[in-house]
């Protein structure tokens, strides 16, 4: 589904990704772990098309199509979803209106009519229940005054609404207490099926108790230095990252 080949990326002439190779197949969960500054968030931003990063070499291919020339919204329309480490606050735009706009823009790009209001409401109801989100929450301004946990839960709610092919969860576990972590992980697990894939970017093994990865990759200094099964995460938790350098 997603192939990343020899990916190099820099920001302001400083190279951060130094040749990443990664293949994610439909139905798989991959975890990317690594110390601070390894390039984890850069990798997620580059896949999503953030123009602050310059891809200097390599390819990102989704279902056979090179994403290089696609704007962030076009990648989103093709099924790329990024759950942000720091979701942005947008005052004056409610969660519901934001989702309506996002879904209808995506449909427009596919040549479809706007989603009928009744269908939209049904979808919102279903997905908000999945994430145990209170209805009142949906009429609040997007992320404004949300707690860390609410922001992350709201990200996964949006993922549920948009039903992406490949979801990248960037440090989704940071700032979550154990109950919120369980709800978020449970949501992700229910959305997971044989046609989509998830990349979990995390510092700690904690989230991986709930979202069990098929593969664990260790990112260090812009390169994947080790790949293993889920047991690698436990080993990292125990030994830290220093032994891999």
């Amino acid at each position: 589904m997603l192939q990343i080949k020899n990916l190099h990326a820099s920001v302001e002439d400083k190279e951060i990704l130094k040749g990443i190779n990664l293949e994610v197949k439909a139905g798989e969960v991959h975890a990317i772990m690594g110390p601070n500054g390894a390039g984890k968030s850069t990798l997620s931003a580059v896949i999503a098309g953030n123009e602050n990063f310059e891809v200097t070499e390599g390819e990102i291919i989704l279902d056979g199509e090179d994403l290089a020339d696609l704007a962030p919204e076009e990648r989103a329309h093709k099924g790329v979803f990024l759950s942000f480490q720091y979701p942005v606050e947008i005052p004056g735009v409610s969660v519901t209106n934001f989702m309506k706009t996002a879904i209808n823009e995506s449909r427009k790009a596919k040549g479809l009519e706007d989603m009928p209001a009744s269908e939209m409401l049904k979808l919102i109801k279903e997905k908000s229940e999945l994430l145990e989100i209170d209805r009142k929450f949906l009429s609040r301004s997007l992320n404004e005054g949300f707690s860390g946990g609410e922001k992350k839960r709201n990200e996964i709610f949006q993922m549920a609404m948009l039903d992406p092919k490949i979801a990248i969860l960037d440090e989704t576990d940071s700032g979550l207490d154990i109950d919120a972590l369980r709800i978020v992980a449970n949501g992700v697990n229910k959305l997971k099926n044989e046609n989509n894939a998830v990349i979990v970017i995390t510092h700690y093994q904690r989230l991986l108790d709930y979202i069990v990865p098929d593969f664990v990759h260790v990112l260090h200094d812009g390169k994947i230095v080790k790949t293993g099964g889920k047991e690698l995460a436990l080993e990292l938790e125990e030994k830290g990252y220093d032994w891999l350098k």
Binding site: E51, E73, T101, E105
Partner: protein, 437 residues
């Protein structure tokens, strides 16, 4: 003959139509003298440093009201609130249009300045209020006073909640360039509440200049929600001089929405003449091309324990220019004043400019005054966030700008007006996102 000379010499013709043997006439001639001495404001004056009227004043304006040019309801319907019943005071080229208006004398007066100025039954009110709060030194205000003859006269007795909003509309039309000078006097009695919407709208491409003066008196515990909607043609110019006197515990808010016009200058002056007063000044400016909007505000805290809240947002595209000058004066006896001022702006191009200047003069020592202004571009991280969710750049920009204006829109208390403003804003931003709030 330049415009100033024309205005001075036309006064004789104006006098033919009015009663020259009255106290009012003395006020007019006195005011004309001030204008004669000062002339039109120029950029040499600190208060007009960033706004030039020169190009506008070169037009060959007719300075006295012409005869009424008929205007059909269907042609102007769009400028009114359509889903709520309202009182209406409508003027065309400065002349009252009875068939477009809906006035009343039933328990309150929503009628014409011309009758208030001439009928004996209003003499006491005119003597007590007319030209009492208006600036006696400002040349354009004096020019308006000299020619004051027509406009809105609203007199709400005490303990009256006016059920219907009042709309004041000044249309200009025809092929002749017009210089019009509306004069409004609004008195809100103790414990009374009113909502008023004022618009100036040109229906033609002939150049227009409106020099308007409005005096508002809010008595004890009065509540006044005043809205100014400016979405005029590129040939229309407006200098709006509004003076507000507030008595104790009154609450007056003025929202100014500046979405269009050539040169627009809003002089908004609040005088707090009692304790525990609340004054609100809010505005949204969204302009492009070579449009110019200048907000010049004054809040005069003369008494203790009062509050003022200012919040102005601006979005400037193309080569548009904006000015915000907010003066807060706190008298030495005005202890426990709480004055807040904020001015946030977004410049969409390198050619758009904005000058913003807070001006605080505080003579009391136990007060809370805060101010802040920002000039910036749209938040890139917010743009990327929205694009990541599939919202294209253009729509994401519009949504962010819409969000930026929400803080001001949310305090509009007439639902029909709020909806109209939301539609106007999404239209102005060039994208119809089609979402409800």
């Amino acid at each position: 003959m330049d415009l100033k000379e024309k205005l001075l010499s036309s006064f004789l013709a104006f006098e033919q139509k009015i009663d020259v043997n009255s106290d009012l006439h003395d006020v007019r001639t006195e005011a004309l003298k001030v204008f004669e001495n000062k002339g039109f404001p120029t950029k040499k004056e600190e208060a007009w440093k960033y706004t030039s009227l020169n190009a506008v004043l070169n037009n060959d304006f007719a300075v006295l009201p012409s005869n009424e040019i008929p205007v059909e309801w269907k042609d102007v319907k769009q400028y009114f609130l359509n889903n709520v019943d309202t009182y209406k005071l409508v003027f065309i080229n400065g002349v009252f249009s009875s068939h477009l208006s809906s006035t009343t004398h039933d328990g309150l007066d929503v009628c014409l300045m011309s009758s208030a100025l001439t009928k004996p039954k209003y003499k006491m009110i005119i003597d007590a209020y007319f030209n009492k709060i208006a600036d006696k030194k400002d040349s354009l205000t004096n020019l308006n006073t000299a020619y004051a003859a027509e406009g809105a006269f609203i007199n709400i007795p005490k303990s009256t909640v006016v059920a219907k909003p009042i709309e004041i509309l000044y249309f200009t039309t025809g092929t002749v360039a017009n210089f019009i000078q509306p004069r409004n006097l609004i008195i809100i009695g103790e414990n009374s509440h009113v909502q008023i919407l004022e618009r100036h709208q040109s229906l033609t491409d002939a150049p227009m200049f409106t020099n308007s003066v409005t005096e508002i008196f809010g008595q004890k515990r009065a509540i006044v929600d005043y809205y100014k909607l400016q979405n005029d043609k590129l040939t229309a110019n407006l200098v709006d001089n509004t003076f507000i006197s507030q008595k104790q515990e009154s609450r007056v808010s003025v929202h100014t929405f500046s979405f269009g016009g050539n040169v627009t200058r809003n002089n908004l002056n609040f005088y707090q003449q009692g304790e525990r007063i609340d004054s609100t000044l809010k505005g949204i400016t969204i302009i492009g091309e070579k449009q110019h909007v200048d907000h010049y505000t004054l809040v005069n805290h003369e008494q203790p324990n009062c509050e003022s809240h200012q919040n102005y947002k601006g979005i400037f595209d193309d080569r548009a220019t904006g000015v915000f000058n907010g003066k807060i004066y706190v008298d030495k006896i005005a202890q426990k004043t709480d004055a807040f001022q904020q001015n946030n702006n977004i410049l969409l191009t390198d050619k758009a400019t904005l000058n913003t200047k807070p001006q605080l003069e505080i003579f009391a020592d136990d007060v809370k005054c805060s101010h802040g202004c920002t000039i910036g571009q749209l938040d890139e991280s917010a743009m990327f966030y929205m694009q990541q969710r599939g919202i294209p750049q253009k729509e994401a920009r519009a949504l962010l700008m819409y969000a930026f204006t929400d803080e001001v829109i949310s305090s509009v208390k007439i639902p029909d007006l709020k909806l109209k403003l939301q539609k106007l804003i999404s239209l102005k931003l060039g994208v119809n996102i089609g979402f409800d709030i």
